[in-house]
């Protein structure tokens, strides 16, 4: 149902903003319309054929991981990418996986240091340092 709504919205938007056919040529809205129609028809077919199932059950650990992923973005803005990843790693390994804090911290710091060496120093990728500019 979410896919039908999303594809329906995309189709309406493309029909309103991009033409299907203009000046005797296919318009830029043709492909979005075809693609959206495929999604809508296939999803409606799935619903009508009763092939929907009971609905997904999301396990608590996966939701814990998801929260960690979402936290990466604001944390990066504040403290930089590698410290943010290290912090999320410690939190997930400690709180979700139940790993001992020293072990989780050691793992996170060593991975962050290795990544810094490879990407920042060797490959010269300018990783974001965040507002605090720690790393």
């Amino acid at each position: 149902v979410s896919l039908i709504i999303a594809a329906g919205a995309a189709m309406i938007y493309s029909l309103l903003h991009y033409g299907l056919w203009s000046f005797g040529m296919p318009g830029s809205g043709l492909m979005p319309a075809i693609a959206s129609a495929m999604v809508i028809i296939a999803c409606i077919w799935t619903v009508l054929s009763g092939d929907v199932g009971e609905g997904p059950r999301f396990a608590a650990p996966a939701l814990g991981y998801c929260s960690g992923f979402v936290a990466i973005l604001p944390l990066t803005v504040a403290i930089g990418l590698l410290p943010a990843l290290a912090l999320v790693t410690v939190a997930v390994l400690r709180l979700v996986e139940g790993m001992a804090l020293p072990r989780a911290a050691l793992l996170a710091v060593s991975t962050a240091l290795g990544s810094w060496l490879l990407f920042d120093r060797i490959l010269m990728v300018p990783l974001p340092h965040g507002a605090l500019g720690i790393f």
């Binding site: 594809a7 492909m31 979005p32 799935t46 300018p126």
Partner: protein, 504 residues
């Protein structure tokens, strides 16, 4: 000059100590680039273009082509071990290669990939030397109309990929095509679904989608698997167990041969290359297999065929460049830039004006493939040892790998956010019974399809009949109708047909 004389001239160029060293460096850099998501061969070759100016023109092309086919193998390593395709051409290997790794056969999968690629490389090189220049002219018969029909046939074959039902695969193909339309439309110049967000003007990057849908969603699936969160995937320790057994070798022999030939011919097409070749090979193997249900669960043929096709396609894509001056894909386009910088204009005159370079590059393919096998087969044990890392730790390593890889594409956090969103969406789709492989493949083929469709309609003055007027196009469409219609006709006539699980 005869073929052997030409090849002798080429080997005289390729087997000098300097060129051997350059080919080795190219293969090492290429493998590393293939392993690291984000740093694709196109970007790496672009970065190394200034260095190539200081080299002799043959050496420069040997270096750049070494990176190209090194990356093809490197991408397979992460596909098999952690289900992250380093390259678009490795997406298919994720499906069965990763399942083999989970069953403790990662070493066998990696060795089959390396040896299959080596064999395919030899087949492609011989093919290029013998029939490449002649066959390249045939590729010109593929205009936008024929390419559109071929891609429609391709989408029909994609329906058979993955674990979901056929109808769900149609929805995923539609979603992939829809995502491919984001960005500036190259035909009309319109911005579609950009909403004034500057990074969206170029559309979504294939690596972002692949890392999100496969890498991040796999991390979340791993998180759910509580029984083995602290355990590693079973890995053999003895060398004999690391290598493929007799049964796996016999299962992979025919797919490698078929994949090599198929990959060679598909690689010749402008716009072709490893990606289309690998997925066409997967579908061919699945269709002709006596056990199609084994595909998606770690079928040896699902790794051997696509890997061979991928490498053969990558090498054959040099033919349109060297013989016609047409770059088959973006990476080959950058290599063409290197040739032009060296004062060499690729095209039909290349083989006449610069025979030493033409045959030198072909001979270097032999050398490059041998180097890749020597380099990678002994390292299989090292690669497999990565799987001994407990799943929870591996999940975090994948997170680091994907986030930094996504950031390094354009040095912006928007790509990271997009990848994480695709990861969460991929997880949700997988939990609701949708397989994300058709989505990714449709996304990759989507831009090519739209471009060909638009050009085809313009050529045919807006008449759909133009797609039936071309004999080659009509042939592809007829096969499509046959594939879609035959099971339905047989069912209506009451004939019992044994279909794979995912074909309703």
């Amino acid at each position: 000059m005869d073929l052997f004389g030409d090849l002798a001239l080429g080997f005289g160029q390729a087997v000098t100590p300097l060129n051997l060293l350059i080919a080795l460096a190219g293969c090492i850099v290429g493998t590393a680039v293939g392993v690291l998501p984000g740093l694709g061969p196109t970007a790496t070759i672009s970065l190394l273009l200034p260095i190539s100016v200081y080299l002799d023109k043959t050496s420069a092309i040997i270096l750049l082509s070494g990176i190209y086919y090194g990356a093809m193998y490197g991408g397979s390593i992460t596909s098999i071990l952690v289900k992250i395709p380093g390259e678009a051409a490795s997406v298919i290997t994720c499906i069965d290669g990763y399942q083999m790794a989970r069953r403790g056969r990662a070493g066998a999968a990696l060795t089959i990939a390396a040896l299959g690629s080596f064999f395919a490389g030899i087949v492609a090189t011989v093919g290029i030397a013998i029939i490449g220049p002649g066959v390249a002219q045939f590729a010109l018969a593929f205009g936008p109309i024929e390419k559109t029909s071929l891609l429609i046939l391709g989408f029909t074959l994609v329906l058979g990929i993955g674990e979901g039902s056929r109808v769900r695969s149609v929805a995923m193909i539609g979603l992939g095509l829809l995502l491919a339309t984001v960005g500036v439309d190259l035909v009309t110049g319109d911005e579609r679904f950009v909403f004034d967000v500057a990074p969206l003007r170029d559309g979504f990057n294939i690596a972002i989608l692949a890392m999100g849908l496969f890498g991040i969603s796999e991390v979340l699936m791993m998180a759910e698997d509580r029984d083995s969160a602290g355990k590693a995937v079973p890995t053999p320790t003895r060398l004999r167990e690391l290598l493929p057994n007799r049964s796996e070798i016999s299962q992979s022999a025919a797919p490698v041969m078929r994949g090599s030939v198929l990959g060679f011919f598909l690689g010749l097409l402008p716009g072709g290359g490893g990606m289309i070749a690998s997925f066409a090979s997967y579908m061919l193997e699945r269709r002709i297999s006596k056990t199609p249900d084994a595909f998606g669960k770690g079928a040896v043929a699902g790794v051997a065929g696509p890997e061979a096709a991928n490498n053969a396609g990558a090498q054959a894509s040099f033919v349109p460049l060297l013989c016609l001056g047409i770059p088959a894909n973006a990476t080959i386009g950058v290599i063409m830039g290197a040739l032009l910088m060296a004062g060499v204009t690729p095209g039909p005159r290349l083989i006449v004006d610069h025979p030493e370079m033409f045959w030198g590059v072909i001979a270097s393919m032999f050398v490059g493939n041998a180097i890749l096998v020597v380099l990678n087969v002994p390292l299989v044990g090292l690669f497999v040892s990565l799987l001994r890392v407990p799943r929870a730790v591996m999940a975090m390593l994948i997170l680091f790998f994907c986030v930094i890889g996504a950031y390094s594409l354009n040095n912006n956090m928007f790509d990271v956010a997009t990848m994480l969103v695709f990861g969460l969406a991929g997880y949700g789709l997988r939990k609701t019974g949708f397989d994300v492989a058709p989505l990714l493949l449709a996304f990759v083929l989507g831009r090519l399809f739209e471009e060909s469709l638009m050009q085809g309609l313009i050529i045919g003055h807006g008449e759909v009949g133009a797609f039936f007027a071309s004999p080659l196009s009509a042939f592809f469409l007829a096969i499509t109708v046959l594939i879609l219609g035959l099971p339905l006709v047989l069912r209506l006539r009451g004939t019992h047909v044994s279909l794979p699980k995912n074909t309703e």
